[in-house]
């Protein structure tokens, strides 16, 4: 369990909504996004691909992202969730593991303005 996740659930969320798996997933997405962003850049968009058989609700992912990103360089970022919808549940056992996975595809960053010297 990451430090960020633990702090988040204790500080922000009431007990009745802690028991969802979207929260640790989004916490890890944020960690990966922050690690990939250059220093001093602001993250403006995070593109997350969700496997077709993942039981993750985009609405909750987006809500938790907004909470988790507070105070970070991603706090104004938009989380864009795309779901691969090609696999039907009845074919679950015959699908590759990617159908159950989450991939942080890319981030959009805004570099700080260049300083001009007079």
């Amino acid at each position: 369990m990451s430090i960020r996740y633990s702090a988040l659930v204790r500080a922000v969320l009431p007990a009745y909504i802690r028991t969802v798996h979207e929260l640790p997933i989004i916490s890890r997405v944020l960690e990966l996004a922050l690690a990939a962003a250059p220093r001093d850049a602001r993250i403006s968009r995070v593109n997350l691909r969700v496997g077709s058989l993942c039981d993750a609700e985009p609405l909750w992912l987006e809500r938790y992202f907004r909470i988790a990103a507070r105070g970070t360089s991603a706090e104004d970022a938009e989380l864009v969730v795309s779901r691969d919808g090609t696999v039907k549940p009845e074919n679950a056992a015959r699908t590759p593991d990617s159908a159950f996975g989450y991939v942080l595809e890319s981030i959009e960053v805004r570099d700080p303005p260049e300083r001009t010297t007079i």
Binding site: L32, A41, L53, A93, Y102, E108
Partner: protein, 240 residues
């Protein structure tokens, strides 16, 4: 003046670190002859009762231990320890499932992995030695949940999904991911079959429609029916 905007390609598996550790745990345990079973099911499906009834059928020849995972309390670990089994309780706090990192902690508490170091470093193990551990089958009793627990690799060699008769036979249709991940489905509380409109054959068809190689075991921890078949299945899997 605004700075420039650009896209950075990342392509990172969000659960990649967990999946890597799960594979590492599985390999390390296999090398030392320890078989890890992940028991999943709804709250009240009978996970603890199943273990209480099943462990005496496995020991001997096996030497079992249990990792209990719950949001809070150590009720289940206490129940098993009262019957003389070694059990550790993990409190998951806000977590709705067990992941490989928590499994590692449970294995450490059982003395099957060194407390602070990596998975296989040759150090002395309190629960026997690295080469001769004192347990050879470990059950994870996962958090009661049919959704989240199926999403995350714990490092187990075998996944069991429990479906109790009072829950209804439609659960494979509603929670296909759980039944796709399960190597076997244990229909618990089978002693209620004559009081419920639960069709075991229909469950079998629904489960095998999702996962054709899955096995179905109707059992009752109360009257003991079906437990011998399940124990035999586990013994066969441990020996593979």
């Amino acid at each position: 003046m605004n700075g420039s905007t650009r896209i950075i390609d990342v392509q990172a598996a969000v659960l990649g670190d967990n999946d890597g550790l799960a594979a590492e745990l599985r390999g390390s345990l296999s090398e030392r002859g320890i078989f890890l079973v992940n028991v999943m099911g709804s709250p009240g499906s009978g996970k603890t009762s199943l273990l209480e009834a099943l462990l005496p059928l496995l020991s001997p020849p096996l030497r079992p231990a249990v990792i209990e995972a719950d949001l809070d309390s150590r009720v289940d670990a206490d129940a098993l320890e009262a019957r003389g089994w070694r059990a550790v309780q993990l409190r998951t706090g806000g977590f709705c499932h067990l992941d490989a990192f928590m499994t590692r902690r449970g294995l450490q508490e059982l003395g099957l992995l060194p407390a602070e170091l990596g998975v296989s470093d040759g150090e002395h193990y309190p629960g026997g030695t690295a080469a001769d551990p004192i347990f050879d089958i470990v059950f994870i009793e996962n958090v009661g949940n049919l959704i989240c627990t199926a999403q995350v690799d714990t490092g187990a060699h075998l996944n069991l999904a429990l479906l109790s008769v009072p829950e209804g036979d439609d659960k494979p249709l509603k929670y296909p991911v759980m039944f796709a991940k399960a190597d076997a489905v244990v229909v618990t509380k089978a002693d209620y079959l004559d009081r419920e409109s639960f069709d075991v054959n229909e469950v079998g068809r629904r489960v095998q429609g999702i996962r054709p190689d899955s096995r179905i075991f109707p059992v009752s921890a109360r009257d003991g029916s079906g437990l011998t078949e399940l124990a035999r299945f586990l013994l066969e899997r441990v020996r593979i």
